[in-house]
Amino acid sequence: MNLSILEYQDEYFAIYITVLISFILLFLTFYLVISALAYRFINNRKMAYYELKRKECLPKILEFVFDRDDLDASMVESGVRTKADYQPVLSLLYELLDDIEGDESERIRLILGITVFRAYHQKLLSSRNKDNRIAACKYYSHIIDLTDKEYERLEKMLGDSSVLVIHSAASAIMSSPNVIRRIHALAAVSRRKSISRLAILELLNEYHHTDKDQMDEEAEQLLHLIKADHIQTDHLAIIIKGICDIGYVSIIDELYLLIENGFADDRELVLEALIYTIGRFQYGIVVDQILQKYQDDRRPRIRRACAEMLESLVDPLYGPNLLKLAMDQEFSVRIKSVYALAALGPEGTEYLKVLQKESPENRLMIQSIVSEVTQN
């Protein structure tokens, strides 16, 4: 009897548990479906509002961009009332900036600089979220008339833990008319290991202001940076090579002094960059001294830099040096030297004939380089 009551209770309990679990599952399913529908509804509304805001603001933006007289950028401000309006309008402005330049692009930058956007991005600079800080720095890189206070805020970002934030902040600071400010930003980035060489090169190009007469000051500050001991070696090499493209001729003497004083003797990459840069400037007076010191250097990279320097000079006077380098044990040095000899024209051809006799194994390589250079 007792046993049957127990069995009955067990069965009742099992039914009770099954029903309870079914109810919980049903409730969870219902909750998930309702949440998904609510999320979709809210998201659709957000997207619809996003598109609506873009459509609403575009005519105002176009009016300001093209009807230039008596219009103020703040006219767009009336369409940006709440925080929810910022992203659609900002995305629209960035989208336009991507594809156009010139006067119209300047007008769009003026809209970007309206008070509400400035205040919003100022807050974003101190956000805990790294992406927000990057977005804020990138915003400032589009603004034409940054104030001193805004530059100071950006300078604080140079001490950020994220290299992406540092790079974005430095890029924004490069619009500053103040050379010292720009060089500090460049230095802050060059100190970081994980920054790419391309990023350094881009920043260096931004550092140079083509429309201002600041060449000498820029060059002088750059020289201080090169001499500073906290810059990463590969970044330093990139900066030195970048000097060629910008054309800071006034510091070439100083660069040569660096070579002479052994500044880069234990840093192969830097020495290579210095030799390359001097060659690109066609600075003939010091070339003999460089060749004397480094043409037979034990490091192939340095011997190749000598050949590269002579390739830039295109001077038949250095034919014998190139002939010697063209017989180097290192293939990359030989290739560079043959290119340099081929660039000398008929005078180089005589050396190449000698080279073919001396090292017939290189005949094919020589012929292909000569035909490539001749075609060019």
Binding site: R54, L58, L62, V65, F66, L92, E95, L96, L97, D98, D99, I100, E101, G102, D103, E104, S105
Partner: protein, 124 residues
Amino acid sequence: MEEKKRILLVEDNDSIAKLVKYKLERDGYTVEVCVNGNDGLESIKARKYELIILDVMMPGISGFEILQNMREIETFRDAKVMMLTSRSREEDLARGFKLGVSEYMGKPFKVAELSMRVNKIMAE
């Protein structure tokens, strides 16, 4: 009253399309916009335009495919076409000129320059 000259702009970036349309309409043209290649091709077949401005990079049919399709049809063999392309894609230039493109504009472009080039093509 003289009828305004018609331009078709095929550009998938809606905001850029509106900006160009705004400028060209102020220059005195009638501008129709298509935001994808398929619609662009349909419009070209349906109406006559004095100039067709094509963006090269578009989802679906690219600007080049539209151009190639157009050139295969006798009526559109001589239609004037301007292409908008990214500056870094120099290979597009050669391909476009082979297909008889009248003008190229590299992105990012100056709107004033685009307007000037359109005026030049229209005056020819």
